[in-house]
C-alpha cells in the first residue's frame, strides 16, 4: 500500500464510516439543540431589546441582525458543500455526499431570508424593494437558483451514485458564484454598501451593534451545524433502509 493512501485511510476513513458518523452525531446533537435554542433566545434579546437605534437607519438597523448572518451563512454553507463534494470526488466518501445534500436546503433557506430581509430594508432605506442592475443583489439571487438546481438533481435522478456525481459537479461549478457575490461590491459600483466588518480600517460597526450581530451569527451558525448533522443522519438511515429493501427483494 502506498503511503498517501495509508494516510488517507487513517484520517478520512474514520469520518467516512457511517457508523462512526452516527455515533458522533448522536452524542452531540442533543447538546447542539440546546445551544442553538439558547443562542437564539440571547441573540433575539440583544437584537430586539438591547441594540440601540442607528443614527441614520433608526430602528431598521435591527433587520441587519438577521440579514448579515444569513447572507454570509448562505455563502459559507455553499462553500462547505463544495469542500464536501471535493472530498467525495477525490476519496469517494459517501457521507461527504450526504452531508452536502443535507446542507443544501438550509443554505437555500438562508439565501431566501437574506434576500427577503434585504428587500424589506431596501424599501424604506434605499427607496426600492429590488434593483436588477445591482451586481450584489442579482448574484445572491443566482445563488438561490444554484441551490434549487443542486436540490433538484438529488430529487430527479433516481440512481444515488449518478445523482451524487452530478451533485458534486454542480457544487464545484456553482462555487464560481461565491467570489462574485463577495467582491461584487468592490469590483463594480453597486447600490449595496461595501463590507462593514472585513475592511482595512477595522469594523465600521459600533460595539453596541456588534454584539447583537455576533450573537445572531452564533445562533444561525449553530442552527446550521445542528440541522446538517440531523439531515446527514436522516440521509444515512434512508440509504441503509433502501439497501436493506433491495437485498430483501433480490433474496440475497
Amino acid at each position: 500500500m502506498q503511503l498517501d493512501e495509508r494516510i488517507d485511510r487513517l484520517t478520512m476513513q474514520r469520518y467516512a464510516n457511517p457508523k462512526a458518523f452516527i455515533a458522533i452525531a448522536d452524542r452531540v446533537i442533543p447538546w447542539l439543540k440546546v445551544l442553538t435554542g439558547l443562542a437564539f433566545v440571547g441573540g433575539l434579546y440583544l437584537a430586539l431589546f438591547q441594540a440601540p437605534a442607528d443614527y441614520q437607519q433608526s430602528e431598521t438597523v435591527r433587520i441587519m441582525f438577521v440579514h448579515v448572518p444569513t447572507a454570509t451563512m448562505s455563502m459559507m454553507v455553499f462553500a462547505i458543500m463544495t469542500t464536501s463534494s471535493i472530498v467525495a470526488l477525490i476519496w469517494g466518501h459517501r457521507v461527504a455526499d450526504l452531508f452536502a445534500r443535507a446542507s443544501a436546503p438550509i443554505g437555500a433557506a438562508f439565501t431566501f431570508i437574506a434576500l427577503f430581509s434585504g428587500s424589506f430594508w431596501g424599501r424604506p432605506m434605499w427607496g426600492t424593494w429590488w434593483e436588477w442592475g445591482d451586481a450584489r443583489l442579482v448574484s445572491e439571487l443566482i445563488l438561490l437558483f444554484i441551490y434549487f438546481g443542486y436540490m433538484g438533481i438529488w430529487q430527479t435522478i433516481d440512481d444515488p451514485i449518478k445523482a451524487a456525481k452530478a451533485a458534486r459537479i454542480t457544487a464545484i461549478v456553482g462555487a464560481v458564484n461565491l467570489p462574485i457575490i463577495k467582491f461584487s461590491v468592490d469590483w463594480w459600483n453597486t447600490l449595496h454598501q461595501p463590507a462593514s466588518l472585513v475592511r482595512m480600517d477595522g469594523p465600521a460597526i459600533h460595539e453596541s451593534l456588534l454584539w447583537p450581530l455576533f450573537a445572531m451569527w452564533a445562533a444561525f451558525g449553530l442552527f446550521y451545524v445542528t440541522m446538517a448533522l440531523i439531515g446527514t443522519k436522516i440521509e444515512i438511515l434512508r440509504f441503509q433502509s433502501r439497501a436493506r429493501a433491495m437485498r430483501q427483494t433480490e433474496g440475497v
Binding site: 443614527y55 437607519q57 477525490i90 432605506m125 464545484i172 464560481v176 463594480w188 459600483n189
Partner: protein, 168 residues
Amino acid sequence: MTRKQQRTWFLVGGVGVLALATVLILGALGDSLVYFYSPTELTEKAIDPGAQIRVGGLVEEGSVEKGEGLDVSFVVTDLNESVTVNYNGLLPDLFREGQGVVAEGSFLTDGQFHATKVLAKHDEKYMPKEVADALKEQGKWKADETLIDDSVKKYGIDDSGTNKGYGE
C-alpha cells in the same frame, strides 16, 4: 497514476478552465455590471441627451432646494465633478445632505439631469446617534469614501481624515 491522482488532476484542470472562463465572461460584460457612474466618469464619457443612465455620488451640503409640490433639485458630487439633478417625487428616508445617493434618469439638452427615480445609498457605517454626534464634534467625521473621486482622495483629504472644503 492512481485513480485518486487522476481525479485530483481532473478536478484541478476543470476548476482552472472554469475560473478562466468566468474571468473572461465578467470582463466581457464589463460596464453592464456597473450600477451607476460618478459625475467624473459621466463628464469623461460625454453621455447623449435622453440616454437612460444612473449617476451616483454624495448629495452636496446645502444644495437641496425644494420647489412646488414634490419638485426638488440637488447637486450630486464626487468632490471633483458634480451634476445638478431635478426630480419630482418622494425621496427615500435615508436621503440626506452629505450622504450617498443614486439618481436614475437622463440628461436634457440644457445639460441638466432629469431623474425619474432617486435612491439613497447607505455606507458601511453603523453606530448609535450619540456616537455619530461625538465623532462630528471631534471633527473625525468622514463622508462615504467610495463615492469620492480618486483624484480628490489623494490631495483633498488631510491627515485627520476629514475632507478639506467638505463636510460640516
